[in-house]
Amino acid sequence: MSDPLFSVEDLRVSFHTDDGVVHAVDGISYTVQAGKTLGIVGESGSGKTVSSLTALGLTRSRRSQIEGRIMFDSQDMVTLEDDQLRQVRGNDMAMIFQDPLSALHPFYKVGSQLVEAMQAHRSLSRSAAKARAVELLDLVGIPDPKRRVVQYPHEFSGGMRQRAMIAMALANEPKLLIADEPTTALDVTVQAQILALLEDLQKRLGMAIIIITHDLGVVAEIADDIAVMYAGRIVERGSADEIFHHPQHPYTWGLLTSIPRLDNPRDEELVPIAGRPPSLINRPSGCHFHPRCPYVQEAHKRVDPRLEAVEGDGGSHVSACLLKTNVRTQIWEGLEAGREPESLQRMASASVGALAPPADASHLNLHGELESDAQLPGEEVQS
């Protein structure tokens, strides 16, 4: 494969606040090839937005600390001088923000905002820029662009504002487009239009897209590769096919089983993820997901998992989980078959119990069956 267009290497972003240090992004790495789409999935507060804002230099401040490298076009975006950064931002790399109403200036006409974006980066006469603004609105599918270009953002509907945002991001034909929850505030019909538009533009202009969302349906539709983030880290990364068909991390399972799907039987129970996302100031010890993980073992509360290649898949599929691969495969197959989470939990504890008995026996009592049931597979594995 050719050199990636965009690569993030061990990026760490922390913010110093009065309450303590917020570790918003904690050592993430990923790459995006030209013309491909990466989906970043996670709950609010998992650091998905911060990581992309950092790529554009938008998290720089006296109270933030940024480490690692973000390579784009053989420039390191982390160390780039402010004025050089300004040349890249909005030109080669552009961003679509989540809330189009607050991202567009209410005081200026949509056309003037588009013209400004163009004139900031290239010497273009005002009339030429205006003509191009009309062209761009037409490109993103806004009807009657000549009339719309002199209107204010409040005269646009939600879907049209999002289109105007996309037009602005595309004004300078970026090589990389970062879309932060581009469809979250929109109706399904408009969402489908916007996703189709992004795909179409990608084909025509050959740009790379990073799409940040919490909607697994959206990433399944559009992304080639997916990174799942939790508490500032990537917990699983792989191709869309790998993530949806053999996910390897309990958090990914949680995300997949907690949404009602149109292709599942209607009466199926949803399996929510218990609890809520952790504070990024006082993160849980060991595996950050352990307080919410149904398959947690005593050791997981102490050992911090690393991203490791999943056995049997190409090297691109990595996951940070302390459970053994074959156990994970079985749990996921069990979940797919609609089995009770309890029996799967037992399976998880059995296998780990066999690997390395937990130091304190109190944990075993939580799964009382372990001591009595000699037929459990984990014990046979060891023998």
Binding site: G159, V188, V190, A196, S258, L262, D263, R266, R276, P377
Partner: protein
Amino acid sequence: MSTLIEVRELVKHFPIKKGIVIQRQIGAVKAVDGVSFDVEQGETLGIVGETGCGKSTTARLLCRLMDPTSGTVSFQGKNVAEQKGDALKALHRDMQMVFQDPYSSLNPRKTVGSIISDPFVIHNLYTGSGERKKRVQELMDRVGLNPEHYNRYPHEFSGGQRQRIGVARAIALEPKLLIADEPVSALDVSIQAQVLNLLRDLQRELGLTLIFIAHDLSVVRHMCDRVAVMYLGKVVELASSDVLYTTPRHPYTGALLSAVPVADPTGGKRERQLLTGDVPSPANPPSACRFHTRCPKAQPLCSDREPMLETKAGGGVAACHYPLTDEEVATRLPAALTRQRVRPASAEPSLPAAETQA
């Protein structure tokens, strides 16, 4: 089953006025324009549609948070619009609402305890000393909140927990009807399932009738027995979930289903039927069939004569002159929908399989 609520030709027009001192009406936003349906005791009716189709207005009319322009809502035989004073208060006791935004629907200056006990104050219930607190704590426990957090303020809770507070307040009076207006759209994915499961459990336990309003079609399918699809103030299709999601007849329903993203990179492929443009303004809706401006199957008849709700093949009712045929349904819906994932027959735990792979 008996009918709990009967809605007939419900209309709500919001006047558009012109002039500062002498105002005259120059038009009306037809938010709800002739909606009729029944809700049976104990069932869940879903209402779906795009922003601005009148879902929330319908909900507010049902429990008379607004007065309808015309039409009737009868709840257990009583016309909701004619109730006044004590009778209206008694009626409100039986119908409660859970709102969309858990941030703005709770008073930030009141403790959770006093928010949940407000219904008791209004209806003068549990007046004995300590009774109210006990009941509130029972409710908090029931919806999965820690009863010890009785004296906390809403800002100390996360979005999902706040929505639980909203649910506790709504079930405090043991209503017969619960109207949930987009109860999970403001929540994170992992939290949505918690609230959905809670609503389902409560419905089973308390025998609630639920009207569930949402724009997320997969959530509605999961929750509801029957689904009404609204477009510009009208119900365009009404059918049981099983029928609606496998054989939609109205092209608008077909388009909605076609647009739903499917969380399966291979199973979701289909010929997407994209609707162009936005929903027309409800102040000036298209003539006859309101969907004809965006409809892929529109014919001259559609802009001439308004289609009525009629029973179509499959058993649901739809308002369309040219309903979708089975072939059209097959090509437009996500493949995954028509060909459902089959569960392996042996759901029995097959633990011994572990050894062979280990």
